[in-house]
Symmetry: C2
Subunit: 156 residues, 2 copies
DNA sequence: AGCAGGACAGAATCTTATTCGGTCCCATTG
DNA sequence: CAATGGGACCGAATAAGATTCTGTCCTGCT
């Protein structure tokens, strides 16, 4: 994250916002179609999208893969609390967690916990292994609270 | 969600899994490149990907847009508890919540709360409005707990 | 009014997607 | 055991789309 203030909204005009909205819904919409939808030429559209990527407004394009289909039907949100005397190590620790294949998202939050881990595993055994060996088993972790996810749906 | 058992993993071979892994990282990798990476012909690759979409293994392709750049720098995870005498209305209620522009994800979970709402708003005022008017203000909601999100990173 | 900078459009080019016909492999059947 | 049917795959041809380049227009500044 770059510390460039509230992300200078002045840098984005209504057309950019339209492009972002369209690409958020369909990340594979052809450049042609995009250009027509927002009312600019394809070539212009291309440079705008390149710019949005460089700015960081678009962080990437990803297929939304159903975890159940890749052998990870069990999903959970794990709230993790770090020992107060190890708070400065949170960054590195969370980064190492992000490297675990089962981990899909890491949310650093305020409140009774330090971060939330969205994980998808093959079975509850694997889930337990992560919790006991990668979290509770670590001297950095003061406690965890696991919530099984029954269903996950995107907004809009 | 279709109730087709543990998503019949037998339907996916190692090549399919490779394709899913690649597309999850880069949803815009050209079909050409994909085919070469997994060792099949482009035409074959195309039919496989079409099939993965039809099966539901790939739910869609989306640009990962930084909320801060579209005027929503404030993110939060809101834990929502539904009144026990209104549990059967959760589905419709959550669905209506998913329609709010600020809502990015809805997680139905087990534990002390019924679902988690990942929201991104323009300011804390908007966040408050959602909590008081769309959640606490509703007779369905027994309580909420809001955690500001300082940072969100994807796994891997 | 003249000038410089930036953004855009349109045409040309090149890359990529998609379709189509035919081949190979495997399992089933006579 | 050989013939048959089905499925998946490949490669070439075609269609579609991406990308580059050049010239124009608009805007802001002097």
């Amino acid at each position: 994250m770059t510390p460039d203030t509230p992300k200078d909204l002045r840098a984005l005009d209504p057309i950019d916002l339209d492009l972002l909205a369209l690409l958020e819904v369909d990340g594979r919409m052809p450049n042609n179609a995009l250009a027509e939808r927002v009312g600019i030429a394809p070539s212009t559209c291309l440079t705008r999208i390149r710019r949005l990527r460089e700015l960081g407004a678009i962080r990437g394009f990803h297929a939304d893969v159903d975890p159940a289909w890749i052998g990870r039907p069990i999903q959970a949100m794990i709230a993790v609390r770090i020992r107060s005397d190890a708070r400065d190590a949170i960054g590195k620790f969370a980064e190492s967690l992000a490297g675990i294949p089962a981990v899909r998202d890491v949310y650093f939050v305020s409140g009774s916990y330090d971060f939330l881990l969205h994980v998808a595993t093959a079975d509850v055994g694997d889930l337990r292994t992560i919790i006991t060996e990668r979290l509770s088993g670590t001297h950095l972790v003061a406690g965890t609270e696991t919530h099984l996810i029954f269903e996950h749906r995107r907004g809009n």
